[in-house]
């Protein structure tokens, strides 16, 4: 529904009332159960939510139906009673602090979700938005959600699936749509928020941060990129196919639209097999992934950028031995660009990935230094002792997550999204004693 200032006011009032009601009437275990039931209800092949998402999302997001199914399996498969409980326990030490006063040193303390959270979603990939809403519900806040025009399907259907599990809890979410550029409506929504979770490009976040009320908690998730690192020990004929499949998945899932999507895969030289072999195997795996889960539709602008990127490297590869290109027969489906140049190269997205040889971690660390603040995740293979050392260096640069290759797109529910806790900022505490 298109928002107006009045509708935003009404939405805020309704979620505030629902928050008060749920605060009194629900215990954390009941919330966990409702949310887990909602998520699990997406998983069967016969799930009505799945059917609706597969029917509706491709038209809105351009994703292929197979990709929508994959997203559902990954996203909702990871939301279980166990993982939700673990998230709460990890962030609060004790999930029951949301229900009652619990021991806190010599005193006691209880956490209360803030009354109203404003979520401003980005819509490039579904999980951040769904997790944002999920987190708000876990702490029993009221949630006003501005959906992105690019993804209204998943938030709507998710809230409906929560409603089926616990109608009162679902009352704590109001979904609205308004153009990102409508500053007056954004301002109206911000004015009533106790906490703001904003997803989007850096300039949008900077603007929202300025506009948000001074006493509101502001959490901004800006633009990030990711890369991968393959050690020479892993470059054997036995391991290569599995390695390439893992990398192709990390690149291709969400059509590389997410912050966790790798843009570059660095491969160490002097393994049993060389980095070019990795690029060739990756190309094959990209093709296999495309056959299983086709890339989404591209706008003409997106297709133009992929096309010009690919043809630019193809041209150079003809006369420059440091460059090689593996490209799908069908234009723009996927492209693997091998380039002997350690500089981090952001991809134009939509399944265009760079493979770069490196002689050491040091060269890569130097190559990424300039972008370190923008890097979310580094996928490595294998997670060896030596990689633990690399992880320490990456941590120093401020990189948020180091994980096994193939797991880049599967952060656990309790991961520190962009290096911060997910729930802790959404509550205020009362101490007793």
């Amino acid at each position: 529904m298109n928002a107006t200032p009045d509708r935003i006011q009404d939405a805020v009032r309704r979620v505030r009332e629902a928050h008060e009601f749920v605060l009194e009437s629900r215990r954390t275990e009941a919330i966990i159960k409702a949310l887990a039931d909602a998520a699990q209800s997406w998983l069967p092949a016969s799930s009505p939510w799945r059917a609706q998402a597969v029917e509706q999302a491709p038209a809105v997001t351009g994703s292929s139906p197979a990709m929508v199914n994959e997203v559902i399996d990954r996203m909702f498969g990871a939301i279980t009673a166990e993982s939700l409980g673990a998230l709460l326990d990890r962030e609060f030490g004790d999930r029951r602090v949301l229900d009652e006063f619990r021991p806190h040193g010599r005193a006691q303390a209880r956490a209360f979700g803030v009354p109203v959270i404003l979520h401003l979603l980005a819509g490039n990939v579904p999980p951040p938005g769904i997790h944002s809403i999920l987190n708000g519900l876990l702490v029993r806040s009221g949630n006003v959600v501005r959906m992105s025009q690019r993804d209204t399907v998943f938030p709507k259907l998710f809230v409906e699936s929560v409603r089926a599990a616990d109608p009162d809890l679902a009352m704590c979410v109001e979904l609205l749509e308004w153009p990102r550029t409508d500053a007056a409506l954004t301002q109206a929504a911000l004015a009533k928020a106790d906490a703001v979770i904003a997803h989007g490009d850096d300039s949008t976040i900077a603007t929202l941060r300025r506009l948000a009320p001074g006493n509101a908690t502001f959490i901004g998730y800006g633009q990030k990129v990711s890369f991968a690192y393959v050690c020479r020990e892993a470059m054997t004929a036995e391991q290569l196919p599995a390695l390439a499949t893992a990398a192709a998945e990390d690149v291709s899932v969400y059509d590389q639209q997410g912050c966790l999507s790798p843009h570059v895969i660095y491969v160490e030289e002097r393994g049993a097999l060389g980095p070019r072999k990795f690029a060739a195997a990756l190309a094959e795996a990209m093709g296999a992934f495309q056959a299983r889960i086709p890339r989404g539709k591209l706008s003409v602008e997106e297709a133009a950028v992929v096309n010009t990127t690919r043809s630019g490297y193809e041209f150079r590869s003809a006369s420059d031995k440091r460059i090689a290109v593996w490209a799908s027969a069908q234009p723009n489906d996927w492209t693997v660009i091998y380039e002997d140049n350690p500089a981090f190269e952001p991809s134009c997205l939509n399944r265009v990935v760079f493979v770069k040889p490196t002689d050491s971690e040091r060269r890569v660390l130097d190559g990424i230094q300039r972008f370190a603040a923008r890097i979310s995740t580094v996928g490595v293979a294998p997670m060896s002792e030596r990689m633990m050392e690399l992880a320490k260096q990456l941590a120093k640069l401020g990189i948020h997550r180091v994980c096994p290759l193939g797991q880049m797109q599967r952060p656990p529910l309790w991961w520190f999204h962009d290096g911060r806790p997910n729930l802790a900022s959404l509550v205020r505490w009362t101490e007793l004693g």
Binding site: Q223, S261, E301, A318, R374
Partner: protein, 349 residues
């Protein structure tokens, strides 16, 4: 090089109005460039499109504009260059270079095309330019060659004048509050966008300002589209048809095809695509250029939309420019864009 010089003379004559056959000339130019441009030759061989296999001009392999950033792409030793025009980028590594060993073709292509689109009525008037001179700017060179006088500001005049500048030059003038009523018949050529500028205006808004601030009606403002990598410019047909029009036509020695980036084939009429430009005046570099500019075919002409964005409309991942300070476009126009034209980017949704 005797044949090359003969080829050059034939193209100069063609540009000058002599009858000739574009398609046959294109194949000859291709054969010449294949023989003398090493990077291009390697690419054509890789694509298995060599002169003995290419029967039609549309089969000639296109060179991506970005290749000018890494390669000299000349049909002569780069050291023999007498002029170097540069595209965007603050460092040598990311700015494109177009090298010339002679400007004979470049010079030949400037004036007839400019006059045909700015003065189809045969009018003669002084040319005034707002573009600062710059030895590496192809736009500044073209303006110099047209014989325009560089001015810092416009003063009231008694005779009609033709004012040349980038959209940004004009916008700056309008923002400063200039208020003139230039004599009837005066006209303007605007080019280039204003990416990264403090504000953007739409083309109709900009053209209204021409009328408000200079007294030049929108029917007398012509948008030019040129690229550092080319030797020929393209203009809106406005003055030729007597009403505002975004349609541009290639002159006889150039052709523009619209390529659907989804299929790599010629776009269907009305379907946007990337311009692939064939410019015989680019004899000494590469004739067939794959641009990054989007537009549509319109009758036997074309309409420019704007540069394919360096960043995606979707995706939380970063824009290339945002990631890398080094790539950010610098302040001055001359290095502002690989291409100029389109005036104001049209919305592409």
């Amino acid at each position: 090089m005797k044949t090359a010089l003969q080829l050059q003379q034939r193209i100069v004559a063609f540009i000058g109005g002599a009858r000739d056959d574009f398609e046959a000339l294109a194949l000859e130019v291709f054969a010449f460039q294949f023989a003398h441009n090493h990077a291009y030759r390697a690419f054509c061989e890789r694509k298995e499109r060599t002169p003995d296999r290419v029967a039609h001009w549309t089969e000639i392999p296109a060179v991506p504009a970005s290749a000018f950033k890494q390669l000299a792409l000349t049909c002569f030793p780069p050291d023999d260059a007498i002029v170097e025009f540069r595209t965007s980028g603050t460092t040598q590594a990311c700015s494109g270079r177009h090298l010339f060993k002679t400007l004979e073709l470049y010079d030949a292509a400037i004036t007839p095309n400019f006059n045909a689109h700015l003065f189809p009525d045969g009018a003669q008037m002084p040319l005034l330019s707002l573009v600062p001179d710059d030895p590496h700017s192809s736009l500044a060179y073209m303006i110099r060659k047209l014989g325009a006088r560089c001015v810092e500001r416009l003063e009231p005049v008694n005779v009609p004048v033709c004012v040349l500048g980038t959209a940004f030059n004009f916008l700056k003038l309008f923002d400063e509050g200039i208020s003139l009523q230039l004599p009837s018949g005066s006209r303007a050529m605007e080019t280039g966008g204003f990416k990264g500028r403090t504000r953007e205006v739409t083309k109709p808004e900009l053209y209204e300002m021409f009328e408000m601030h200079l007294g030049i009606p929108p029917t007398h403002v012509v948008n030019e589209y040129g690229m550092t990598e080319l030797s020929t410019q393209f203009y809106d047909e406005t003055m030729r048809v007597g009403h505002c029009s975004d349609v541009k036509h290639a002159p006889p020695w150039a052709r523009v095809r619209v390529i659907d980036p989804q299929t790599d084939e010629e776009a269907q009429p009305g379907v946007p695509g990337l311009f692939r430009i064939y410019d015989l005046a680019n004899l000494w570099s590469v004739m067939c250029l794959q641009t990054e500019d989007l537009g549509v075919r319109e009758g036997d002409g074309f309409v420019l939309f704007g540069r394919a964005p360096g960043a995606m409309p979707r995706g939380c991942s970063l824009k290339v420019e945002a990631l890398s300070e080094e790539r950010r476009r610098p302040g001055g126009f001359t290095a502002d864009s690989d291409r100029r034209g389109g005036g104001v980017p049209a919305p592409m949704t």
